[in-house]
Symmetry: C2
Subunit: 455 residues, 2 copies
């Protein structure tokens, strides 16, 4: 009876907003505006017995009063009214409901019962349910945005190949804002919250076949059906890289995760093993998740763990080497042959090991020469650029981007510092290179790329 | 014969610049400008037989031609001319020399010999030497700046209580720029490079008695005299917090450190034990060093490891809890009594554990109430502020700063996100609260504060 194809959620021809309101700041009003702002091309039907029209759009007494077909109903009403509203939604033969309302499992006993009833409804009526306690769907291709977060506070990212699937709404909203600030392009962001029906496995199955998604980031606190999850994830990882975070790795995090979505987070090790089995790249914190978004969106995967470090500051280069070793990368010296080539082309006080230290006398050309001569022996490079030396010019940015594109191997920029560096970091990003502002972030990102072939 | 008091380096009444040049961009010219720009109040004597005057200041043929006394000579000439120049400097009875020139131990065999000769000169003539291959001294109190890095590229930080001692020049320059960008106040930054004479122990002895320094950050690749270092560090940690990084923890980092200052970095474990013995807080990477600068400049030390997490997003709060556990902090729930108080003052869907999840319905007052009611049972707090909820206003910033000041316990802000958050993070900083933009950074910083009483 259940419709296994959830693609209509991502391509609804029409949506009804149950509990629509003309009051600015109200959840349902924010959602209406989110849909308008992204340019949703379908029909929007507000539903609320209190109003005849909302923002000049006809408002319906009940979902059943809408004449046209409705693909998706978005429920923004208090938890205790949801079951009654679902009756109408089902009568209207809506394909799926996104229940954004909170106050379910996470609010205690009564909420648990409500969720059981929703599960039953979904099963029996064959209607698919996303949520409750969720933000729903942001889709940059089909132009859906059901997120009830003001655009002034959380910006929407530009179009790209990254899709985020998240159990947590705060994670989905925060990462959305970060990705916008970083200028990283997004295909879809999905938050299914308490997951009475649609969850990570449904989404992975759908996303596996989705041509617009090139990379998938998954946030998990718990899993609904472990076996099905591994199957769905496997199918997805065969087509595109998937990285995942399991939150609630420790006792404290686990009880936190439990209280907020009502889910019982299982033992961390089981998740870690499942990720491995499914070919998923595991990341271990919010920062690493963000690093993974950045490098996997922009870079070729690394074919191994051999990392080259090029720097113009010895001490800072040594910090990158330390961090690389911490993250399991191999920082081996180049061969004698390549060392000789480098030595012949660099001043005598430069260090031609790994890191290659070009020193404060560095030129733009030195960086590119060192990278080109050496990369044949490495899987990835971290180029540390400290902008102190006055001999360095902004031309370096384009030169390194060109070299990276030709080498077809991951090249990561690491450029810590203040204002002068921050501006150039934006320029590196615009040139398509992933930039990190500390040795530790750069090394962690390189390690994520190395895991793409070592999972 | 050796002058054990190195305070004259930080308070020179006059400096001679050996190898001064009028050519913009030349090392010595940058130094002359650095001294002028910071407002160095003493006399500057350029020395170079090629010029009669430099930038309208009389230029001397040799150091011995200067009539007045000279406290410090700054040598900016090629390595092979340094010994000859030192003859004149010694004849002139200069108290100390800062040799910024590179091309010594780090450049190979001849350089090693040169350094041995410098060591001998220092011992026999009783002249103190900083360097070679160093940036020297930046002192915000006495207004010295011998750093040959253009201000346009690396900004100088404002006045404050933080002093950085660094073997590495690139580290000193980069951290200087970061501290400026973060708005963190600095007393002094010292870079002694190849350390033929003045090193970490001399500086720690001096800084221990320096009233302007409240916190000390130390960057080490190697140590000159381990026993003396521990003694000097102990004396310093008895008066103010000292945190340190040992770079070259792994084989790769070690060889990198070796090639760039010519020092042989010892086994990491020995350093770690020495830090512990001396009461030094060990940090393990550039990022953690920067975190330590931030929290130790701004916060009371934590009296234990019990950390409270307050959040308005459950999933993001769970990430903070995970990260805190990773860094050895204790994320225990508040007592039943406090839970009841919180429950009586918050809506039923809030989670009153640890994290306290105020949810998307949060108000400014909720944050402050939760903090005030609960902190009696905790040593530090991480307040995660996600700005999505429209009920949150900018007033929250001042309210949290006031509450933190009254509580006299560390309160750390964690606010990831995009532009809207970035702007408010600046406001948090201006209000005196340390802000971090990821759960991992915030937790690491809290762990640094906890180490102040657990070392």
């Amino acid at each position: 009876m259940k419709n296994n194809d959830i693609s209509f959620f991502f391509n609804p021809k029409s949506v009804a907003i149950i509990g629509a309101s003309p009051v600015a700041g109200k959840l349902s009003h924010v959602i209406m505006n989110s849909l308008k702002d992204i340019g949703y091309p379908g029909a929007i039907y507000p539903v609320n017995p209190k109003y005849k029209s909302i923002d000049a759009v006809e408002c319906y007494h009940s979902a059943t009063d809408i004449k046209a077909d409705v693909d998706v109903a978005i429920l923004c009403i208090p938890a205790n009214g949801v079951l009654k509203a679902m009756d109408d939604v089902i009568k209207k033969k809506v394909k799926g409901a996104i229940i954004v309302s909170a106050g379910f499992k996470e609010a205690g006993h009564e909420g648990v019962e409500l969720e059981e009833k929703l599960k039953k409804i979904s099963r029996e009526a064959g209607i698919r349910i996303m949520g409750p306690n969720c933000l729903g769907i942001f889709d940059n291709i089909s132009k859906i945005d059901t997120f009830f977060i003001l655009r002034e506070r959380v910006r929407r990212p530009s179009l790209g190949g990254l899709t985020i699937l998240s159990q947590s709404g705060s994670f989905a909203g925060t990462i959305m804002d970060e990705l916008s600030a970083e200028g990283l392009g997004v295909a879809k962001i999905v938050n299914y919250g308490n997951r009475v029906d649609v969850g990570e496995s449904d989404c992975l199955e759908y996303i596996a076949e989705d041509k617009s998604t090139k990379v998938v980031g998954l946030y998990m606190e718990s899993v609904d059906d472990g076996k099905r999850f591994i199957e769905a994830a496997k199918r997805c990882t065969q087509k595109k890289p998937v990285f995942a975070i399991k939150v609630g790795r420790h006792e404290a995090g686990m009880s936190a995760a439990k209280s907020h979505t009502g889910a019982i987070a299982g033992r961390y090790e089981i998740y870690s093993a499942a990720f491995k089995k499914a070919g998923i790249i595991e990341v271990k914190g919010y920062s690493e998740f963000l690093d993974a978004c950045k490098v996997l969106s922009k870079q070729y995967p690394a074919e191994g763990k051999m990392v080259l470090i090029v720097t113009d500051g010895g001490g800072m280069g040594a910090s990158v080497a330390d961090a690389c070793s911490d993250f399991g990368l191999i920082v081996a010296e180049p061969s004698q042959k390549i060392k000789e080539i480098l030595a012949s082309k660099l001043p005598p006080f430069c260090a031609v090991g790994n890191p290659i230290d070009l020193t404060g006398s560095v030129t733009d050309d030195d960086y590119v020469m060192a990278l080109r001569e050496t990369m044949i022996e490495y899987d990835a490079a971290i180029i540390m650029v400290l902008w102190g030396p006055p001999t360095l010019t902004d031309k370096l940015i384009g030169m390194l981007a060109d070299a990276a594109a030709e080498l077809k191997k991951p090249v990561i920029i690491c450029s810590p510092g203040g204002e002068y560096s921050h501006k150039r970091n934006k320029m590196f990003e615009e040139a398509g290179l992933p930039v990190f502002s500390s040795p530790e972030e750069a090394a962690r990102a390189a390690a994520v790329l190395a895991k793409t072939t070592h999972s």
